[in-house]
Amino acid sequence: MIRKEMIAMLLAGGQGSRLGILTSDMAKPAVSYGGKYRIIDFPLSNCINSGIDTVGVLTQYQPLRLNTHIGIGIPWDLDRNIGGVSILPPYEKSDNAEWYTGTANAIYQNLKYMEYYNPEYVLILGGDHIYKMDYEILLEFHKSNKADITIATYPVSWEEASRFGLVITDESKKVLEFEEKPAKPRSNLASMGIYIFSWKVLKEALIKLSDQPGCDFGKHVIPYCHENGANIYAFEYNGYWKDVGTLTSYWESNMELIDLVPDFNLYEEFWKIYTKSDVIPPQYIAGSATVSRSIIGEGTEVYGEVYNSVIGSGVTIEEGCVVADSIIMKGTSIGHGSKLYKTIIAENCVIGNDCELGVGEQKENKQHPNIYCNGLVTLGEGTVIPDGVKVGKNTVISGVTTPSDYEGGNWLDSGESLIRADERLA
């Protein structure tokens, strides 16, 4: 009989709407990060580096990019005879068909998957954070406390603490109480959304709560277990942990990689991050180029100037360009003499010659001031910008645009949104 000590369930079905246009076509875990990775590479690499070789990836929102990225799990060594990675989308049952309505509901709908591997422990993970974590240490903590549930927590600053779901523990780290975004926090340990459940406890709770609409771990499962006297412990994690849920935090986190010795170091031999990379050639920096404080992916050709930027693979930056404080994902080409400031460009975009992005005065975005802010210009996947266009700050552009889409044929004011969802470059 198959028996795995611990399997992981990775929740990758969410849209991540605060990433705006970046997640219009793909789930948040599939968004590119750090020049060659996608966000989901971090939890997947953590799994295999921690010795977990059975991972169920729960998908729902726009899963195509995730499916093609994960495949049968070869890049993470998760192609196994027994176990390995399985993609678990919602499916039709004989008596009903429902979407995943909440995090715990998604896990409940895959009870059979977990039963098949007959685990002792189940690790619940999210697919939207950048971190390196040894889940084995978490498991040892779980075992040594004889816990039913272990919640990974992260100490946040006291000023910020009121924005998080907090846990209050005794000296032995046993959880006494939960507080959701309290006005006056009594603890600064924030839940990371990473849990280890003893399988029996999880199974029982999920079956009991199966009729709960939108069943969620934080809102329903953990409070239910707490009320019923389960042993819940909080593990304190002190490494690098970055939420990349908003455009601003996504941009900041990418920029931190550029630091001389960043807090989150991708260059360490130990604890490698794996990804599916289909581009192999080296990058070329031309005689006309200047590159400083940047990281650049495979096969990219730079003829212009690049400062403080994270550039993906297969990008072309032509002569006379200036790219500063920007993130450019793979396959984009930027025409002669274009200038980009604080711009996030998704995959496979084409920027014409002599464009200027991220110029002009600060104005709030009219439609989504909370998403497109901090002066960022964001371009969706497959966007085309014609020659000579100037674009203001806090803007978003998507689709194949033509001069007639712009004011006077060449100007998009700060705070405007230009979405041509119907037409997009393949």
Partner: protein, 375 residues
């Protein structure tokens, strides 16, 4: 699947100087992110030749390491696969490979147990992309016994390293001069070491050669049979270079600084595949100046790099200058170092404040092993 492939990767010669003391030429790193044999293997794979044997005997450790999985070139299939054959002792043979024909003879069972009608033989030290199906079609159309793929030598090529070929108007070979000292033509046809031959024909010829104690494929089969058999030339008109001397190796790497060469290999279909190393993107810190250079993943650049090819996982210290040089994989270069016209051997650690200067046409091969300080 009309053909199987054989890659001759055994070789070594003193023209590679220190560079081949630790690896076969087929395992030489090329163009920042590849190894020489990737070009032959990728061409075979892209031509849908799914069953390939690599014959090797000289210092094959780094080659074996590179070929540790066949999945990079998409060979790991139920039908076919990638086979690495080194010499083995059997009750009736305890020799090393005594020549290219002998290496095929010692693995004749590979040919005998296959069912594909044709064999493509290529060497592991050529840098090219070639659709072998086109060569096969040509071979069939010409009703040839053997087809030799040739390339025009560029002016200045050291022809004493190549087989120089003359043909009649129908492209049938009339003369084949192996490594001549002199050639009257400025741009002669030279053999690329790529051959197409019918499998049964090859078995017959190899067995015959063995009976006569002849072991060299070129000398004892191509040249010996050129009157008796119909041996034709297929001219490959696109990029082809052999890297089996330090100067050619250096020049071939430098060719990749040209946009048209990069476009041809890196951006035009089909791709060249290689082993994936899971390295992070290259990083440029403040103070880095890079001009006209190739930089590979996993590298960290702090100093000046000009007209150079930097391979994977290279650390270039502060205030260094690297000019017209090739830095192979996993090299650590200390601060204030000056390198010009050099090839730095892989896994070197270069101390700070040193300088190595080679000359144009006489490139310096730097081998310097030191304790590496972890930073």
């Amino acid at each position: 699947m009309r053909a199987i492939g054989i890659v001759l990767a055994g070789g070594n010669n003193n023209r590679m100087r220190e560079l081949s003391s630790k690896r076969a030429i087929a395992a030489m790193p090329i163009a920042g992110s590849y190894r020489a044999i990737d070009f032959a293997l990728s061409s075979l794979s892209n031509s849908h030749i799914g069953k390939v044997a690599v014959l090797t005997q000289y210092n094959s450790r780094s080659l074996n390491e590179h070929l540790s999985s066949s999945k990079w070139w998409d060979f790991g299939r139920k039908q076919g696969g990638l086979f690495v054959f080194t010499p083995t002792i059997t009750p009736d043979n305890s020799f090393w490979y005594r020549g290219t024909a002998d290496s095929i003879y010692q693995n004749l069972n590979f040919l005998k147990t296959s069912h594909e009608p044709y064999v493509v033989i290529c060497s592991g030290d050529g840098i090219y992309k070639l659709d072998f199906n086109k060569v096969l079609e040509y071979h069939v159309a010409k009703k040839a016994d053997i087809t030799v793929v040739c390339s025009r030598a560029t002016p200045g090529t050291d022809i004493s390293r190549y087989g120089v070929i003359e043909t009649d108007e129908d492209m049938r070979i009339t003369t084949f001069d192996e490594k001549p000292f002199f050639c009257k033509e400025a741009e002669p046809l030279i053999s690329t070491g790529i051959y197409v031959i019918r499998r049964r024909q090859l078995i017959e010829m190899i067995e015959k050669a063995q009976e006569e104690e002849r072991y060299e494929f070129v000398r004892d089969i191509i040249i010996r049979y050129k009157e008796l058999k119909k041996i034709y030339v297929y001219e490959h008109t696109e990029y082809w270079r052999n890297i089996a001397s330090v100067e050619d190796y250096y020049q071939t790497n430098m060719d990749f600084l040209k946009r048209d060469v990069r476009d041809y290999f890196f951006r035009q279909y089909p791709d060249v595949y290689s082993k994936i190393d899971d390295l992070p993107p290259a990083k440029y810190n403040a103070g880095a100046t890079v001009k006209n250079s190739l930089i590979s993943s996993g590298s960290i650049i702090n100093g000046n790099v000009e007209n150079s090819v930097i391979f994977k996982q290279v650390y270039v210290g502060n205030n260094c200058t690297i000019k017209n040089s090739i830095i192979l994989n996993d090299v650590h270069i200390g601060d204030n170092t000056y390198l010009e016209n050099c090839i730095v051997e892989s896994r070197d650690t270069i101390r700070p404040n040193v300088s190595y200067i080679g000359e144009e046409g006489r490139i310096k091969v730097v081998v310097e092993k030191n304790e590496r300080y972890l930073i």
